[in-house]
């Protein structure tokens, strides 16, 4: 299991690569939390495109990051899941707390679109 981070403003994209099981989940968890703290990340995009295997340990990783990110008022988006990873995430109700997206570009657009809207709104309110 390898992990790679990409930053765009206050959005962090977490690119996972390989097999996500209980053995790797603790390292993955630590790496993500450390990076969130270092970069004062607000929003998180999980990119599962290169995840070849995942069991229910992945649910814990996502839930835990949701708890962290939502405290900061951020959003959690998930993209690139294979059919059966999707099935596991659906079973656990992950898509009630995170948004399933087609790709990373759409995910960024959604978050940034939100920001603009909010900005526009507060301008209107002035």
């Amino acid at each position: 299991m390898q992990i790679e981070f990409e930053m765009t403003d206050d959005i962090m994209i977490v690119n996972l690569d390989g097999e996500l099981d209980h053995h790797y989940s603790s390292v993955i968890r630590e790496e993500i939390d450390k990076t969130i703290d270092t970069f004062h990340t607000k929003h998180l995009i999980f990119n599962f495109e290169k995840v070849s295997f995942m069991d229910s340990s992945g649910i814990g990783v996502i839930m835990g990051r949701y708890n962290k990110i939502s405290q900061l008022g951020g959003k959690l988006l998930i993209t690139g899941c294979s059919e059966y990873i999707d099935r596991i995430l659906e079973m656990a109700g992950i898509y009630t707390i995170a948004t399933r997206m087609k790709n990373v570009a759409d995910s960024i657009a959604l978050i940034e679109g939100d920001n603009i809207e909010k900005g526009a709104k507060s301008e209107n309110e002035q």
């Binding site: 209980h22 069991d55 229910s56 839930m63 059966y84």
Partner: protein, 153 residues
């Protein structure tokens, strides 16, 4: 196991390994390699690997704590009509209330970010799931899946 069962079995294996989390991936690769001659679909293979991963992780996380000297056992039987039986056994702490344990989202280790979805995933990815457990003695998880007929060209 009576004689009738014995005649049913076409191939079998038994795997024992140290209670270490790096063996989770070993266990699922071994089971996948064992059933490979049945030519399962990618989906069937993924479902079986995931179910094995759940049961083996549970033994490693819940049954023995961190004691790496204990052993986990995985048995796999290939029976007639492409029925695959997988049995994961530990001699660990056991489960007090199996019915509760099997409920979606129930976990005794939320602090370790366990989701409580292990048994639910096994149940959903396999045709049948049986859990036998005795506190202080151990746990045995029996999973059965009948593979689809392979297309012969």
């Amino acid at each position: 196991m009576n004689n009738n069962d014995k005649d049913n079995i076409q191939n079998k294996m038994k795997l024992q390994f140290s209670n270490r989390s790096e063996n989770e991936s070993f266990a699922r690769v071994a089971v996948a390699a064992f059933i490979a001659p049945l030519d399962p679909t990618v989906e069937e293979l993924t479902e079986i690997k995931t179910a094995v991963s759940e049961a083996v992780s549970n033994a490693i996380i819940h049954a023995y704590g961190e004691n790496e000297n204990e052993m986990v056992t995985v048995e796999c039987l290939i029976e007639k009509d492409r029925r695959v039986v997988i049995i994961v056994t530990d001699n660990g702490i056991g489960i007090e209330d199996v019915e509760l344990a099997r409920e979606p989202l129930y976990t005794s280790k939320p602090d370790e970010e366990r989701s409580g979805m292990g048994f639910t995933v096994m149940e959903s990815f396999m045709d049948k799931l049986e859990v036998e457990s005795t506190p202080g003695v151990g746990t045995r998880v029996i999973m059965i899946k009948k593979l689809d007929l392979a297309y012969e060209f």
